[in-house]
Symmetry: D2
Subunit: 473 residues, 4 copies
C-alpha cells in the first residue's frame, strides 16, 4: 500500500476554508476522544482530518484526506498514544485539496514540537508570509496556520507563552486555534471572536471544541466559551488565562447561527436550533403568506421551517424526500434524466405537492442556481404556487473570516434586486428576513456580530492583497 499527494504549484491558492477543531487534556484515551470529537464536528469540514497526540514527551501524528471515519480506524487510533491530543477537520473549495494542507500542522523546532489547528482566516496572511520569506523562512503549505507557527518559531527562546503573545500581536483576522506542545494544550481566539470555541470538562481534564455538540458526544460538561482575545493554557498546573489584547468589540459570525453550526450546538451561549426557530417565527410575522403548507429543503432548513409553521399556524410538510445514500462519487446522468441534480438528493413528492400553494423556508441564497433547479422540480411535481422565505437578509458581500461564499462565483444578491432574484429562481414571491428581525431573533445586541456579508462593514479590514484576490473571482 502506498500514498501519494498530487500537487500543482505556481499559483497561490486562497485558503478560505471552514474548519472544526478539537482538543483534550488529561484523558486516558486522548486519540479516541478526539476521533469522536471530530466525528461530531464533521459538518465543519469533510475534506481532510487529522489527530496529533502527545505522551508528554513525544508527539504522534496522523492525517488523511476524507471523512473522519474514512481516515481513521481502531488500529491507527491505538498507535496514537498519550493523554493530550488536538484534532482538525477541514473543508476547502480551492484547488489545494492535498494532504499536505491537512491539519493539525506539526513542526519540530530545536527541541520543541508544535502542533496547531486553526479555524478562521488571517486577513494579513499574504503580507506576513512575504515578510517571513524575505527573512529566509520556507513555507510547505498554503495554510494560514503555518504562518502562525513561523511567527512562534522566531520567538521560541522567550518561552512558548511569550512567543504566542508576540505571534498573536502580529496576526489579524479570524482565528480560533488549538496549539499543542509536548506538555501543554493551548486554546486561543482572536479578539473579535469571529469563530466559536468552547471549553468543557471531562474526567477531571479538559476539552476544547468548536461547538458544544462535540462535548455532548464525548460526554464532557460545558464550562464556558474561550473568550475573544483569550489565550488559555492548559498543563499539569491547570488552567491559565491571558488576555494580551486591548478590549475590542465582539464580531461573532452570525452565519454560524443561520446555517453553519449544528442545531444541537450552543454557540455564543445560545442554542442554534432555538435561534433558528425564532428566525422562522419572525419570518412568519414579517411575511404572513397564504399557503397550504410550508416546507424546508432538509435538513438545514428544518428548524426555521418549524418556527415559521408554528408562527403562522400552517402545516409543515416534507415536500421533498432526502436520499440518504448520496455517494461522494459522481456518475453523469443520461440526457433523458431531467432535474437529475436535484432529484438525486431530494425527490419531490407529487401527492403532497400537487395543486398546492407551497412556501419554502430557506436559510440563505448564495448563488441561486440550486434553488432555481429545485423550484423547477417542485413545479413539475404539480405545485401550484411556490413562495420562498429566507431566514436572513440578502448576502451581498464576501466573507474574509473563514467562510467561502465568494470564491466560486457571484453572490446573486450582490448584483441583482430581490425582484430579479425571485424571477431568476422562478418563485411566485421571495421574502428575505429583515435586518432587525434577524438581530432580534438572536437575542444579542447588533454590535455583537460581524454582519459584513450582509452590510459590508468589515470589523477587521482585509488587506489589499486579499481583497483584490477575492474581487478577481
Amino acid at each position: 500500500m502506498y500514498q501519494a499527494a498530487l500537487k500543482t504549484r505556481g499559483v497561490l491558492d486562497g485558503p478560505r476554508e471552514s474548519c472544526g477543531i478539537f482538543g483534550v487534556f488529561g484523558q486516558n484515551v486522548a486519540a479516541k476522544l478526539t476521533y469522536f470529537g471530530l466525528y461530531a464536528l464533521q459538518h465543519r469540514g469533510q475534506e481532510s482530518a487529522g489527530i496529533v497526540t502527545s505522551t508528554g514527551k513525544s508527539i504522534h501524528e496522523y492525517k488523511g484526506m476524507g471523512l473522519v471515519s474514512e481516515v481513521f480506524d481502531e488500529q491507527i487510533l491505538n498507535e496514537l498514544p498519550g493523554n493530550m491530543a488536538i484534532g482538525h477537520v477541514r473543508y476547502s473549495t480551492t484547488g489545494s485539496s492535498i494532504v499536505k494542507n491537512a491539519q493539525p500542522f506539526v513542526v519540530s523546532h530545536g527541541n520543541m514540537t508544535l502542533a496547531i489547528g486553526h479555524n478562521g482566516n488571517l486577513t494579513n496572511a499574504k503580507q506576513l508570509r512575504g515578510e517571513l520569506e524575505e527573512r529566509g523562512s520556507i513555507f510547505q503549505t498554503t495554510m494560514d496556520s503555518e504562518i502562525i507557527v513561523h511567527l512562534l518559531a522566531r520567538n521560541l527562546k522567550a518561552g512558548i507563552e511569550e512567543a504566542l503573545r508576540r505571534a498573536v500581536s502580529q496576526i489579524e483576522g479570524a482565528y480560533s486555534c488549538t496549539l499543542m506542545t509536548e506538555d501543554k494544550l493551548i486554546a486561543f481566539r482572536d479578539p473579535n471572536g469571529f469563530r466559536p470555541l468552547c471549553l468543557g470538562m471531562l474526567n477531571g481534564g479538559y476539552v476544547i471544541a468548536s461547538e458544544t455538540c462535540a462535548l455532548d458526544l464525548v460526554d464532557a460538561q460545558y464550562l464556558r466559551d474561550i473568550e475573544p482575545g483569550e489565550i488559555l493554557i492548559i498543563d499539569k498546573n491547570g488552567l491559565k488565562s491571558m488576555k494580551p489584547f486591548p478590549k475590542q468589540r465582539r464580531s461573532y459570525c452570525i452565519f454560524e447561527f443561520i446555517y453553519f453550526a449544528r442545531p444541537d450546538s450552543n454557540i455564543y451561549g445560545q442554542n442554534v436550533y432555538v435561534v433558528r426557530k425564532r428566525l422562522g417565527a419572525r419570518l412568519a410575522k414579517e411575511y404572513p403568506i397564504k399557503a397550504d403548507f410550508a416546507m424546508p429543503f432538509p435538513d438545514s432548513g428544518n428548524y426555521a421551517a418549524i418556527g415559521f409553521c408554528q408562527g403562522l399556524g400552517i402545516p409543515l410538510e416534507m415536500g421533498v424526500i432526502r436520499n440518504h445514500y448520496v455517494g461522494r462519487t459522481f456518475i453523469e446522468p443520461t440526457q433523458s434524466m431531467r432535474d437529475f441534480g436535484v432529484k438525486v438528493k431530494l425527490n419531490p413528492v407529487r401527492d403532497i405537492l400537487n395543486q398546492k400553494r407551497v412556501v419554502i423556508v430557506e436559510d440563505s441564497i448564495i448563488r441561486g442556481t440550486t434553488s432555481k433547479m429545485r423550484i423547477k422540480a417542485l413545479r413539475e411535481a404539480g405545485a401550484k404556487e411556490v413562495h420562498m422565505v429566507v431566514s436572513c437578509p440578502p448576502h451581498r458581500y464576501p466573507c474574509y473570516y473563514g467562510i467561502d461564499f465568494s470564491t466560486k462565483g457571484e453572490l446573486i444578491a450582490c448584483q441583482h434586486s430581490v425582484e430579479e432574484v425571485q424571477s431568476y429562481i422562478g418563485l411566485d414571491s421571495l421574502c428575505y428576513l429583515s435586518f432587525s428581525g434577524m438581530l432580534e431573533s438572536t437575542g444579542f445586541e447588533q454590535d455583537t456580530f460581524c454582519l459584513a456579508c450582509f452590510n459590508g462593514k468589515y470589523p477587521v479590514k482585509p488587506s489589499k492583497g486579499i481583497s483584490k484576490l477575492c474581487l478577481e473571482y
Copy 2:
C-alpha cells in the same frame, strides 16, 4: 489489486433478506439507467449491488459488496454494453455477506444465458433445493433465486416462456422478480403480490422497478403495477402478459407502507407518505395525549409524526438531531462515553427537550433495545415525560416473505405485554395503533394485505423446515 470472498460453509444461512430490483428494455444507456434506478432503491438493500446487461447477443455482468455508488464507477458502467439491463440491491443480516450471494444471479446453460433478480422469499425453498440436489443439481449460493434458475434450466427445451410457467408452478412464497435472457426482459410476481413491482415507460422502452421512486429518478412514466400472478414478457415485439395462476387473494405486505418503502414512492397505487400521515393522524384520534410537542426519530418516523401533530394540533419538533456523517466502520467508544450508541447517530437537543412532555411517534418496535437507549438519552437531556405512539399494532410473528424481523432475536411484543414493553423501554405511556386504525388508514380492504407479522395468519404456509428454523432463533 485483488478480490477475495470469505465464506463459512456447513450451515444453511437463512435467506430472509429484503431487496430492490430494477430492469430496463430498449434504452441507449441501459447500464447507467439501471445504476440510477438502484441508487433510488438503495434503502431496500445496502449490502451488495449488481447490474447485468444484454446487447441482444451477449450478457455482461458486474457485482460487488457495498453501496451502489461504491460498487460502480463511470468506467465500469461503460464496460457494460447493451440496451437491456437488470439490477439488484441486497440486504442481509445473515452471515452470508459475500459477493457470491450478490444478485442478479447469472448462469449459462446450453446456448442460453439467464440472469435473475429476486425480491422476496420462497417458502418451499428448502424442499425444492433438496429435490433438485437429489436429481444432481449443484448449488453455488444460498439464494432462492438459484432455485428458480435450476427449475428453469430443467425445462428450457420447451422455450423460456413454458419453462417459466413450469418453474413458477413449483415455487411458493414471495417473489417479485426480473429475468433477462439475451433478448427478453421478463418481470413476474407471485400470485399473492407480497412485494411491490411496477412498470414504467421511458423513451419508447420499458422500465421495471420495485418502487416508483426509481421511475422518478430516471424520469420514466409510471404505467401500472405488475399484477400479482402476472408474467410480463418484454421483447422486440412489445409486451406480452401471462397469468398462469388460478386467482388468489391479495396479500400485499403492509409493512412496506409502514416502514420499508420510500415515502416518495407509490406502492399498490397509494403514496407512502400520505398513508403514513394518515396512520399518524389516526394515532392522534385514538390517543389524544397531552404533551408539549411530538417528535419522530428521523427520518423514518417523520411522516407519521407530521400526521400525528396535525391531527392533534400540537407542535412538531426535532428533539434529536441526526448526524449526517455516520460512517459504516465502527470505532468502540471509551468507557466514559455514555449513550454513545444513540448519540453517535441522534443527538438530543437539551434546549428543546428540557422540562418538556414529549411524544415520540415511532413506526414500529421490533426488539425494543434501541428504543430503550434513545428514551434514556432523552430523559438525560431533561425531558419530563416521554410517551410513545406506534403507527402499527405490536409485531408478534416472524415474516417468511422477505423481511427479516425475526432472525436476530425475539420480537419483544411476542413475549411481553404492552405494559411490559412500556416498562422495559422506560416510557411514561406506550400506545400502539389499532388493527382497524391501521387498515382504515391505508384505504384498502383488510383482505388485501398480508398481516401475518401482526396476527400470525400466514397467506402461504411456510414449509415445516423453514418454520422450525425461525422458531429456533
Copy 3:
C-alpha cells in the same frame, strides 16, 4: 471495502491453464502451511490463489485474484480454521481472469461440502458439460473442475469413494487433483500421469503437492509420488489407496523437466536442475560450437547453460542483467525507447558482449518473437556472433493436457523450418537438441513421456470439439 467481479459471457473461453495444487491433513495450522505451500508453487500460476480449510465439521474458503502474498494476510489465514486444507494457484491466458474461476472450487450438496483443486485439462470437457446440461446441471464457471464436481454430485449417495470411482471413469485427459470433504483429503491423478503430484509427511500428518519444492518449504518429508491412476484417500484412519483404472502407459509431461517445474523440485523421481544440466551437457556434445562464452536468459535458462558450459569447457557469463523490480502494471514506453520490451526486464552488458561470439542456451522457442527482440538487443550491445542452442526439439504441436502454448498464436516451428526460424530470430546459427538427446538426458525410457508437443502423438485423443477449438486460434 467492496469486491467486484467483471465478466463477459456468451463465449466459451478455453480453460487451458497451468496450475499448482497443495493439501495438508492433520496439521495444527493447516491454512498457514497451505499458504506457504502455494508460495513455493507460485511459478505454476500467478493469476489467482485460494485456500479451503476444514475443521472436520465445517468448511472455510478464501480466494482472490493475484499472487499468494497479495491475496492472503495473517488475519485472513487466522480466520480459516481447521487441521485440513487444500490450496490452488492458477494461471490463465484466456479472457476469464475472474475470481469466479479461482480454485479450489467449493460446493455444498445435500449435507456434504466438496472442495476440489485441479491441475491439468480434461479432453472430453465439452462433451461432458453438454451431457450434464442436458440433464439439468447448471454451470457457474468455465473450469474443468466443476465438471468433476457435477459428476461426483450425481453419485454421492453411493458414498464419496464410489462417486469418485464413477466420476473418474468418465473423465479423460490430464488431472492431478486434490479433493476435500469435511473429513477427508483425497488426491487423485489420471492414469497417464501427465502432471506431477507427490505425497509428503509432516508432524505425523500428510501433505500433497504438485512439486517437492513445496514440501521443502514447509519442512515436510517426501514419501512418494501419487501414482498415475491412483486415488489416495487420507482420513483419520490413515491412507487408503485405490487404483480403479486398467493399467496404462505412462505419459509424463516432459516439458515440466525442460521448463515448467522449479529446478529445486524432484518430479517423477528426478531432480529438475540435474536433468536440465544433462540436457545442456548433451547439447554441448551435439553442437560443439566455437564461441567466447555461453549465456542463459536468466533465470529459466541458467541450468542448461551451466551444463552446456561445463560440457563444452567454455565460460559462462551473464550477458544480460535481470531487473528484479519488474512490476505487474505496464506503462507504455516513449517512442524513443527502442528494445524497451527486452531491456525493461533484461539489460545487455556491453562490456561483456562487445566483439564477442556468444551462445545463448535457451530452454525452448514457442513463438520466437521474444527471442527475436532479445537477439537484436544483444547485437546492438556489440555481440559479434550470436548462436542459440535449445535444450529440446522444436515445438510443433499444441498441448491439450494443461500447458497453453497454442492458444495465443502459432508455434513458430510448426510452420517454419529450423533455417527459417534462425533467420527470423536473427541468429548466426540455431541448434535444437535431438529427440534421443533429450530422452537420454532424462534417464527415462521414451514411452514414459508425453511427447505430443514435439511429435504430435497424443496419448489421449483430444475430443473433436476441443481439437477444432484449438486450431481456430
Copy 4:
C-alpha cells in the same frame, strides 16, 4: 480515497539512506522518461518514489511510498506535464518511513519553486540545522536535502547560481544532487565524489542519472560523469559548468563496485560486472581452495562467483534457487518450519549439494546473521564442506556518506576476528580478499577511493554529533 502519513516525533532519526536520482531536460515526455529512469534505479531505494516536472512556468509533483511501479500509473504520469523533470527513489532503514520524507523535496519561496533530489549524507547536517533553526527556519522533514534548500532560500536574491555556490560552500559530506527550478535543471556533486552521477544525451536534450543503467533503459547516450565538485547548470542556453571548490582528492565509494551498483552500470568509468569478475578472479588467486564447485547467493554474488570459478577452473553451480515471488508482506512461519527465513527466498538443491565440498563466493559480510542461517541450510541439504570467500576486506567501520551498514547493529568484523566470524557463521574456512587485491581489481589508484568502512580513514571528518549517534547504535 484518502492518504495518511503516520509519524512519531521527538527523536532525531538518522537519515543515512541510499538513494537513486534522475533528471531530464528538453524531452517531450519528461515524466515518463523519469519513470523509466527510476525504474532502472529501483535497486538504490525501494521505500518511496517521486517525480517533479516543470513546464517552464509551473512545477508539478507526485510522490508516494512503495516501488516506482506501485506509486505511478499511466494517468498520474499524464498529469505531470512539462519537458523537464527530476525523480528520486529512496531507501531508509530508520523509523522515518513516511511520505513526508519522500523526495524530490519541493518548496515555493517568493516567486520561485525549487525541487531537489539528494543521494548521499551531509556530515555537518545536525550543526547546520541547529544554526538555521536558531535563525528561525522551520524544518518539515529529517532529510538533509531540506537543509540545502534552506541554505538556498537565504541567498536566492543573489540568483540561483550564486545561491547554490554559497550553499555548497557550507555543506560537507556526500552529495550527488539534482536541483530543478521552473526553467533550469542543475546537477551537482560533492568535491570528493563519494556517490556516482552521470550525464547523458537524448533527443537533443540531457539526462542526469545515478548510474548508466538508467541511461540504457531510456536509450540515452552516455556523455561523461558529473565531476566531483562540479555544478552543472542545464537550461535553454545549454550546459554551463562551474567548479567553485578548491581541488580535493577523489573519494569514490568503493562499495558501489562491490555490492551496491547494478552490474550492467558503468560507474567512475568502469563496468561494475567486469570489476566484480576481477574481484572474484583475484580471490581465486589468493585462495585456491579445493572444492567440488563454487556458488553465489543469487543474484548479488553471481559476478564475483563467475570470476572466481573461471580463475580457479572449478564449476559454477546454483546451489540455491531463488524464489521469484517473494512478497513484501510477511506471514509468520509455523513452528515446524525450520530455516524458513532462508528457504522462503533461497531453497537449497539437495541433489547438487549432497556430499559436496562447496565454496560460497560472497560480496560482503555485514552482521553475519543471514550468512549463518544460509550455511546451516546448506549443511542440512547435505553439503560436506562449506567454505566462503568474500570479495572485499572485513567491514570494520560505519559509513557516514550514505550507506547505512552501521545503524542496525554491530558490524561483526568490527568486534570479532576472522576466525571468530568463521566459527560464528559455521564455515569450514573463511577468506576475505586482501586490500591490495581489492584495489588492483578495480584498476584505480588507492587514493581514488573512500575506504573508510574498511580502514576507518574518513576523507571528510564526520561531525561530533553524528559520530556519537552512530556509535550509540
